[in-house]
């Protein structure tokens, strides 16, 4: 994953302004990395583990932001694409004993391939049709995994990324290791998406999203452009799936329920679906909601029925409220004024 060539090479018409933003962007990422490093050394184990989960969600949410916020397509089935990535990764690990970074690459490729097939159909569908089709996928695909022996049925397959290298020191825990892998992957994925969005393709997507007819007249190949967005987004989702399985050391059908697909869409909407850096906000909220509701539940002392459904309630309520009050993300307004 890390060795993938940056897609920046396609940008022949990159101007100075973009170049400057790139440098700022790169500096931001490096700074973020340092901040994370410091942070992971001072917080406790649980927080480190949650940090890993946040990183996984960042990747998953970015894939939706790219797809929905930029190319205007929706997917309710990205949980299924995560499953594709996770199973691909674990199979390549268990059968061919691939090294970890390579299993991630396999996850990306498998999910991207699957997404390309789906995207070819999806490119011709719009709005509700696409939503329904991907929803069907989210409901059906993970349960399909039950029926194949090679995929381990209900119990699934164990996915072991191994212990942290000794060079990192004695007190470098497993969770910290997860966190580092996930955080690095998230930074790399965000960096790649950031560049893709700044490229010719990113501009095509935005043009398509705001006015398909005009974009087509200007020579944007509508279907191809949409398929490309779907493919890249699926690949990123595949990576998220592999990372998620790593943090729970297991790949099972039940790890990819419909609610996972919903959760990442929620995260993307909360992030303000048109802003890539919002993915962190969305991811933190997704991880924080169960915490907050748990605290709330102990405070209020509700029954098990109530407490176990509180996160779902809160997430759905947030989703509805955010689409009612910030349908285009809280940031869009601000960005509009800056552009003009």
């Amino acid at each position: 994953m890390l060795k993938r060539k940056p897609t920046t090479q396609v940008q022949i018409d990159m101007d100075k302004n973009i170049a400057r933003r790139k440098i700022i962007g790169a500096a931001f990422f490096i700074f973020l990395g340092i901040a994370l490093y410091v942070a992971s050394n001072i917080v406790d184990e649980l927080r480190v583990y949650q940090g890993a989960t946040v990183a996984v969600y960042v990747v998953a949410i970015s894939s939706i932001i790219l797809l929905t916020g930029y190319s205007g397509q929706i997917s309710l089935g990205h949980g299924a694409l995560m499953a594709v990535g996770a199973y691909a990764a674990v199979l390549s690990r268990n059968y061919w004993n691939f090294p970890i970074p390579l299993t991630f690459a396999v996850a990306v490729l498998a999910a991207a391939l699957f997404g390309a097939l789906l995207g070819m159909a999806a490119g011709r569908l719009s709005g509700p049709y696409l939503a329904g089709t991907t929803l069907a996928l989210a409901v059906g695909l993970p349960s399909l995994a039950n029926q194949f022996k090679i995929l381990g049925g209900e119990e699934g397959l164990t996915y072991d990324v191994g212990f942290p290298p000794l060079a990192l020191g004695q007190d470098f825990t497993q969770y910290k290791w997860f966190f580092w892998i996930a955080a690095l992957a998230a930074l790399a994925a965000t960096w790649v998406i950031f560049n893709v969005l700044g490229s010719r393709y990113g501009r095509q997507w935005r043009a398509l999203r705001s006015n398909p007819t005009a974009a087509a007249l200007l020579g944007v190949h509508v279907a191809r452009s949409k398929v490309l967005a779907f493919t890249i987004s699926s690949g990123v989702a595949g990576l998220a799936g592999a990372l998620m399985s790593m943090t729970i050391s297991l790949v099972t059908p039940s790890a990819f329920p419909l609610s996972l697909s919903f959760a990442i869409v929620t995260g993307a909407v909360l992030a303000g679906v048109t802003l890539l850096t919002g993915s962190i906000v969305g991811a933190v909220v997704l991880v924080a909601i169960p915490e907050v509701t748990a605290a709330l539940a102990t405070h209020l002392g509700g029954s098990e029925k109530v407490t176990s459904n509180l996160p779902g309630l809160m997430m759905s309520a947030l989703l509805i409220l955010s689409v009612l009050f910030f349908p285009n993300g809280p940031q869009l307004h601000r960005r509009k004024t800056r552009k003009s």
Binding site: T68, G69, G72, I74, L76, A121, R124, L125, S126, G127, P128, Y129, A131, G132, T133, L135, A136, L137, V139, G140, L141, S143, L144, Q147, R209, S210, L258, S259, F262, V265, T266, V269, V273, T274, E304, K305, V306, S308, N309, L310, G312, L313, M315, S316, A317, L319, I320, V323, L324, F325, P327, N328, G329, L332
Partner: protein, 298 residues
Amino acid sequence: MSRIINTLLIGISGGSIYSLMSLALVLVWRSTRVVNFAQAGQAILSTYIGYVVVTHTDNYWLAFPVALLSGALIGALVDIFLIRILARRANSGPVAAIAPVIATLGLLGLIRAIVGMIWGGDLRRFKLPVTNHGFTFGHTTIPFAPINLLIVVTTVIVMLIFSVIFQRTNLGLALRASAFSPEIARLAGVRVDLTRTIGWAFAGAAGAIAGVLVTPTNYLSPNSLDLLLVSGFVAAVIGGLESLIGAALGGLVLGISLAFVLEYISSSLAFPVAFVVLMAVLLIKPAGLFGGKRVRSA
């Protein structure tokens, strides 16, 4: 030979349920251009309400109308308190087109969570109104049981009532006019908002009926109707998403093909078959097998 007929009968019974859910989705789609993913949630809530009535009164026939009416009420409330506001607030910008999808999705989650809070997550059973023991002819018992007959007959009656309402009454004319061309309907004096809400109520009722019919043969849990939502969507797409007859036929086509695949090929293929059918229809005949000429670009 008898195996074919048995499979066909079971397919018709299963397909009836899909038809009802598909009808619910089509009713909303036609009037509001929203695929209502919350339909499964609305249906499950109505079914739980029916469940409460069944457990308290031990009378399925009382639960049925109660569920139906609550389904209608829930549908109307969803339109008034979510969809109307959404139409006013999220009507421009990059996400406007998918805002209804996200909102109904959120509603699905919300209703599920509420249902879970009230009734918990454990599987419940619904008292059977009639037996699910197959009909017996001489020495042979077929899989088709009185409960399946009840499902088919009820569905047929519901469909007939809907088609009479839509084709023969003033309300039906208003519903169709508002669906096809809200602006012209408005200029002719039709109260389009109210009509639309009635459409949502009808859809809610249809979904609730699907819920109380399918649940006795199955179990009840906060997400036990999720698959039905997907089947209903597939059926609606087969039928062209625009037409009520298409919705009914789409359900039957799906139900019968699934029954044959399950019987003759493998029981594990149900989902892939449904998905392949969906993709095939969308790619080959996007206006649906029974639909008109409209292209799906809304």
